[in-house]
């Protein structure tokens, strides 16, 4: 073995220097040596008799290429790992860190100090997240003697790292190493890593506590990133806060003023509410029901919300027109307070005859508009208020023939919906602006389009992503929006610019869903790499990583007080996270299939989840949040307590959920024949 290496070194050296003749002679010698095996024994004996010489030859050949070899080898291995299959990626990623530190230490040991530094600095960011403490230690290693002295480095050199890996990942890795002839990497891996190959499926990412404790640093290092400061409080001077104040003052001075205002505002209000609330018969129904408890409910909610800290907006936020503001305040006053004993009413929009083509659905804040994105590139919007009116006018007879004509005319023909055409690929997501006047859609043609629901026309086409855009969402106050794409980035946009304002990169796989924080300063993204990240919109930095899901994240929701976040995955697990410290509060188990949609009620006491198992489940947030994780582990049936109600649909997977400002829950889904 040693002899072969020697020969190779000599061979390489000759080749490099261009000594072709010598090379040929050397090769001939080699052949002849191999042919008469009996004599080769002697030959080896001779070569072995002079070990010093052999070492010299080797060292000579190495000195030329070593730093570059390490650098190239590692960067190739790294890029190969990052482009490997999602299923095996996290296992292969575990291999990178030990390879990295040993490359570094090898370089140091061989005296290439300068190269070692550049190598270290160029790749340290990869491991900053998991192993920052170890890296700062290693950074101090500046000479071969340091390696000997430093206990940490010494123990790293001495011991082998155990890595659990599944059969297939192992084979992939070996195949890669052999194919690319990266002897250096292979050497390091053989020398310092002890693979525990297990047959069958790769282990889940959340199981790999070993990944963190790889070099004994523990969970702290992993959580370092989660210790960054976060201001999860609500925005100052929010409408809720204003309502609270107004509610207190309304009794005296405000009232007279309010009356005076009422007169001029009445018209405006009517206009603004016309589209949304008057139209739907269901709205009226709700209003009647609500009116009793309304005042108290709103007040109580206000107090609760004011307990949350206030933060200043970091973005310049759009101003809300006063008439809209008043209609929102009106809604807030009439809000039903929900709790585990008072459950919401659920209005369900069922898409029929979708022929398996419905990809996504979105409901506007007041529930009057429903959008559906289809795989035939079309986007369709139904005005439920108009549909309701049409239905009622038909019942009433010919009295209201005029508005009836109008609605038919505006929709063009017999169609019950407005068709938005423009995309050239399946539409994967749609999002209404908070006021319902704009609609965003994202498609596999890698564009995002902005539509006006007033003019029924496409306004802007945002190009920036270079792969399908899986998700798009308006910020809670409009104007800004965030998108998530297959290109592993999420982007922040504003309506008036066709280029993105921020690119949020860091996920190791597709970014599948995106969700704004209530105060517009943060954006959460869920990914196929099974993690959820929280990003600071202003700086574009990742400030939280939530690890714990075992499969692709499909949906996210933020609690109205800004403190908690819920995420649903492919397996039907819902996780509740504390944004302030990045920990999982509790997993909510109950769904048997993909959770497509999550929504918090407006005061944050309930969480609704919609799933492919054709149910809407209501969860009690308060008990879920209060219950510490340890206790929950003790008693298995607490899950049942937290799950308040399961509402099965007939055969309709639930695609979208939305709590209106008055706490009516809207749900939408496509009636499917093959559930």
């Amino acid at each position: 073995m040693e002899e072969e290496v020697l020969d190779k070194a000599v061979f390489l050296y000759l080749k490099k220097k261009g000594f072709t003749q010598t090379e040929q002679i050397f090769q001939q010698e080699q052949h002849s040596k191999n042919k008469n095996s009996s004599s080769s024994v002697n030959a080896t004996d001779v070569s072995l008799s002079d070990p010093d010489l052999a070492k010299q030859i080797l060292a000579f050949s190495q000195s030329e290429s070593i730093p570059a070899l390490y650098h190239d080898g590692y960067s190739k291995l790294r890029s190969w790992t990052y482009s490997s299959l999602d299923l095996y990626k996290h296992e292969l990623l575990r291999v990178l860190y030990p390879v990295f530190i040993h490359c570094f230490m090898d370089l140091i040991a061989k005296g290439h100090l300068q190269e070692a530094r550049t190598f270290f600095n160029s790749f340290r960011e990869d491991h900053e997240m998991m192993h920052s403490r170890d890296l700062t230690k290693l950074e101090g290693v500046l000479s071969p003697s340091h390696l000997e002295e430093m206990e940490f480095a010494h123990s790293l050199r001495q011991s082998k790292v155990n890595i659990k890996i599944c059969q297939y990942s192992y084979e992939l890795l070996l195949q890669y190493l052999h194919k690319t002839q990266s002897i250096t990497m292979l050497g390091i891996i053989n020398e310092h890593i002890n693979f525990q190959v297990s047959p069958g499926q790769p282990s889940s990412i959340s199981d790999d506590a070993e990944a963190f404790s790889l070099v004994g640093s523990g969970q702290d290092a992993a959580n370092l990133i989660n210790q960054k400061e976060i201001h999860w409080g609500l925005l100052e001077d929010s409408l809720e806060e204003r309502l609270d104040k107004a509610g207190g003052l309304l009794s005296d001075s405000e009232k007279t003023e309010g009356d005076a205002k009422e007169g001029e505002l009445d018209e405006n209000k009517k206009k603004s509410t016309e589209g949304g609330k008057q139209g739907g018969p269901l709205k009226k129904l709700k209003k009647d029901k609500v009116s009793g408890a309304a005042g108290k409910a709103a007040r109580g909610e206000g107090e609760k919300a004011s307990a949350a800290p206030r933060v200043k907006p970091e973005l310049t936020l759009p101003t809300i027109p006063t008439d809209v503001e008043h209609s929102i305040l009106e809604d807030l006053r009439n809000r039903v307070q929900l709790s585990n004993s008072t459950l919401p009413s659920v209005s369900f929009y069922t898409f029929i005859n979708t022929h398996n083509g419905l990809n996504c659905s979105s409901i506007s804040h007041d529930g009057s508009l429903v959008a559906g994105g289809f795989s035939d590139s079309s986007l369709k919007v139904w005005d439920m208020a108009k549909l309701g009116r049409m239905g009622s006018s038909m019942l009433q007879g010919e009295n209201d023939s005029a508005p009836n004509e109008n609605t038919l005319g505006s929709n063009g023909g017999k169609r019950s919906y407005t068709l938005y055409q423009g995309h050239s690929g399946p539409v994967y997501s749609a999002s209404f602006s908070p006021l319902g006047d704009f609609l965003l859609s994202s498609s596999s043609d890698s564009t995002i389009r902005l539509w006006s629901t007033k003019f029924n026309a496409n306004l802007v086409c945002y190009k920036g992503h270079n792969y399908p855009v899986w998700d798009v969402q308006f910020s809670p106050l409009g104007h800004y929006f965030a998108s998530a794409s297959h290109d592993r980035t999420a982007r922040i946009w504003s309506m008036d610019r066709i280029q993105p304002l921020r690119i949020l990169a860091g996920h190791l796989s597709d970014v599948d869903c995106v969700q704004w924080h209530m105060n517009c300063n943060y954006v959460a993204t869920g990914s196929s790499d099974k993690t959820v990240r929280l990003w600071d919109v202003q700086t574009g930095e990742c400030i939280r990583i939530f690890i714990g899901h075992r499969s692709m994240i499909l949906c996210l929701a933020m609690s109205p007080d800004g403190r908690y976040m819920a995420s649903g995955d492919e397996d039907g697990t819902i996780m509740m996270w504390d944004v302030s410290n990045g920990r999982c509060v509790t997993p909510l188990v109950g769904h048997t299939s993909c959770v497509w949609s999550l929504a918090f009620s407006c005061e944050g006491s309930l969480l609704a989840s919609g799933s492919a198992d054709s149910t809407v489940k209501l969860w009690d947030v308060n008990t879920s949040v209060k219950m510490p994780k340890s206790e929950e582990n003790k008693s298995g049936n607490t899950n049942r307590l937290r799950s308040l109600k399961t509402l099965p649909t007939k055969s309709t997977p639930v695609y979208a959920l939305r709590f209106s400002r008055r706490n009516l829950l809207f749900a939408a889904g496509a009636l499917s024949t093959n559930v």
């Binding site: 929009y349 198992d613 509402l647």
Partner: protein, 543 residues
């Protein structure tokens, strides 16, 4: 882990005309293909998820190929491409490729245009409660929300209310077991293997999923085969084995089981041949009924009450045949001597007057009828004898005079009423469930003796009504209450001793009454009563 074998590569290579593929490249090609396929699948799964689906379609694969900047495979999407397993080959699949006649396609009528997408709105819940409207899942589905729900949706978008049957899944093993047992019961009930089967039924754990099937099987077979003595007997043995099995939970099915069992006890004819020893079957079933009453009597306090009522009606109805009387008597006897005392003995005198002439050769010419009468007489005698035996045996232990007064005072009115009402409610509920069951299998009604279920108070009027009509010629002997010992009973005991009804309520506890009873029975049955007297001393004292 290898999904793609190198042999497949060879085959594929040959099929596209590459013959000279060296064996060295096969494994690496296979590995690479496997990797590429999983890569495409990974992307296809993402596309599937974002299209909010849980089943992958060929569109997803196409999208995945596009994501990887590859040419999609242009094929029709949908269900038309279904791989079929080749006959006689386990691992060979193919896509069916039908020849299509061009002209047919051209001349065929245009298919209907697909209906346009629409959105309909309904209330899934109102303040957390699901309204019972056709758009919502039926209530049954609430209990089993994850059972496979059949899509009740027509192409025209009208949804119909359809009840979804709950699927009960039986393992193959259990199915085989059930088939084997039922087969044995029907065809080979005399074999040794049937005894083994019965033993297995009586001891095996894990048969519980089969209980409803066995109960139904018994009910079905009893109804259809009233003249097949062999089968009936086998069925009753099967029932007994089921009851013996400590792992089975039979209670919920009792209401289905009892009619079958009672039929085998008091049906007019069991078996069609003279040789069929239906007397034995009735004896067997009587014990079975008694064991059921003993075991489940605590859980269902009106179980025994209903059984005795049925039996008593069979007994007191002279229109019924002697074998029926016999079954009734046997049934009552098996329930214990106190029941015999309370129900049988009061009616003994008049009944014997009816049956005596039947046993005389000169009065009854029909040999078989005379035989039946004699059997009934024997049964009666046996019942009376057991009764007297038990009582006489108890005498020495029951000398506790101070308690008598208390018994008398609360015997009748004070405590009886609240209990009655309670029992009434219970019975009413029971009645409803049983009615449901009865309507469920109406076909059984024809043959099976319906177990009557009058409540202690409400049911009373029913029986009285019947007796008033005059079906029963012995109305005055209907007991006033059907719960033995729960309240006083007006005893018309041949004028021999008792007039005080209160005292009679617990008469059997008193040695005095037993003393009166024996002579009475002696009058009725003659010498044959004496062997039942337990010890000679007592005999001496009272006779």
């Amino acid at each position: 882990m290898n999904i793609v074998e190198k042999e497949s590569i060879e085959v594929i290579a040959q099929s596209i005309g590459v013959g000279n593929l060296s064996p060295d490249v096969l494994p690496s090609l296979a590995a690479d293909i496997e990797y590429r396929i999983s890569e495409i699948m990974q992307e296809a799964i993402k596309c599937m998820r974002h299209a909010k689906r849980t089943a992958m379609t060929s569109d997803d694969v196409d999208s995945a190929l596009e994501l990887r900047k590859m040419e999609p495979i242009y094929v029709a999407s949908g269900d038309s491409l279904r791989f079929k397993r080749a006959a006689r080959h386990k691992d060979l699949f193919y896509v069916e490729d039908k020849d299509v006649e061009f002209r047919e396609v051209i001349e065929a009528a245009l298919p209907k245009a697909p209906l346009d997408t629409a959105v309909v709105n309904h209330w899934l819940a109102i303040e957390g409660v699901q309204p019972a409207i056709p758009e919502n899942a039926p209530l049954e589905a609430l209990l089993t929300p994850f059972d496979n729900k059949k899509p009740d949706f027509k192409e025209d978008g009208v949804s119909i209310d359809m009840k979804t049957p709950v699927k009960h899944v039986l393992s193959i093993e259990l199915q085989l077991y059930f088939e084997k047992i039922t087969d044995l019961t029907v065809s080979r009930s005399n074999s040794i293997i049937f005894n083994k089967a019965l033993l297995s039924l009586a001891t095996d754990a894990g048969l519980h999923p089969l209980v409803p099937y066995f109960i139904y099987f018994v009910a079905e077979e009893v109804t259809r085969n009233l003249n097949n003595f062999q089968l009936l007997f086998a069925l009753m043995r099967l029932v007994r084995s089921l009851l013996q099995n400590p792992f089975l939970h039979i209670e919920p099915y009792l209401h289905q089981l009892m009619p079958s069992v009672m039929t085998c006890l008091v049906a007019k004819s069991l078996g069609n041949k003279l040789t069929d020893n239906h007397w034995e079957l009735r004896n067997f079933t009587a014990n079975l009924v008694a064991s059921i009453c003993r075991r489940f009597g605590h859980g269902y306090h009106n179980l025994q009450l209903r059984v005795t009522r049925t039996l008593l009606h069979a007994f007191l109805d002279p229109a019924k045949a002697f074998p029926q009387h016999y079954g009734a008597i046997k049934g009552i006897t098996a329930l214990g001597s106190s029941v015999v005392r309370l129900l049988l003995l009061p009616n003994l005198d008049p009944y014997l007057q009816i049956i005596e002439p039947e046993m005389q050769l000169d009065n009854q010419k029909d040999e078989s009828r005379r035989h039946e009468a004699r059997q009934v007489h024997g049964a009666l005698m046996c019942a009376a004898g057991l009764c007297i035996y038990n009582q006489l045996k108890m005498i020495p232990n029951l000398f506790s005079p101070p308690t008598h007064a208390i018994w008398k005072s609360n015997g009748k009115d004070l405590t009886a009423n609240p209990n009655k009402r309670k029992a009434g409610i219970n019975n009413l509920m029971m009645e409803q469930t049983l009615k449901k069951a009865a309507t469920g299998d109406g076909s059984v009604g024809g043959h099976l003796v319906k177990v009557e279920m009058p409540g202690a108070s409400s049911g009373f009027s029913i029986t009285r009504g019947v007796s008033d009509v005059g079906v029963h010629p012995l109305p005055r002997y209907l007991p006033n209450d059907n719960i033995p010992g729960s309240s006083g009973r007006r005893d018309k005991f041949g004028g021999a001793a008792q007039t005080s009804s209160v005292a009679v309520a617990r008469a059997w506890k008193k040695e005095v009454n037993a003393g009166h009873l024996l002579p009475k029975l002696y009058d009725l049955f003659g010498e044959s009563m004496l062997p039942f007297v337990p010890s000679p001393e007592l005999c001496d004292i009272y006779i």
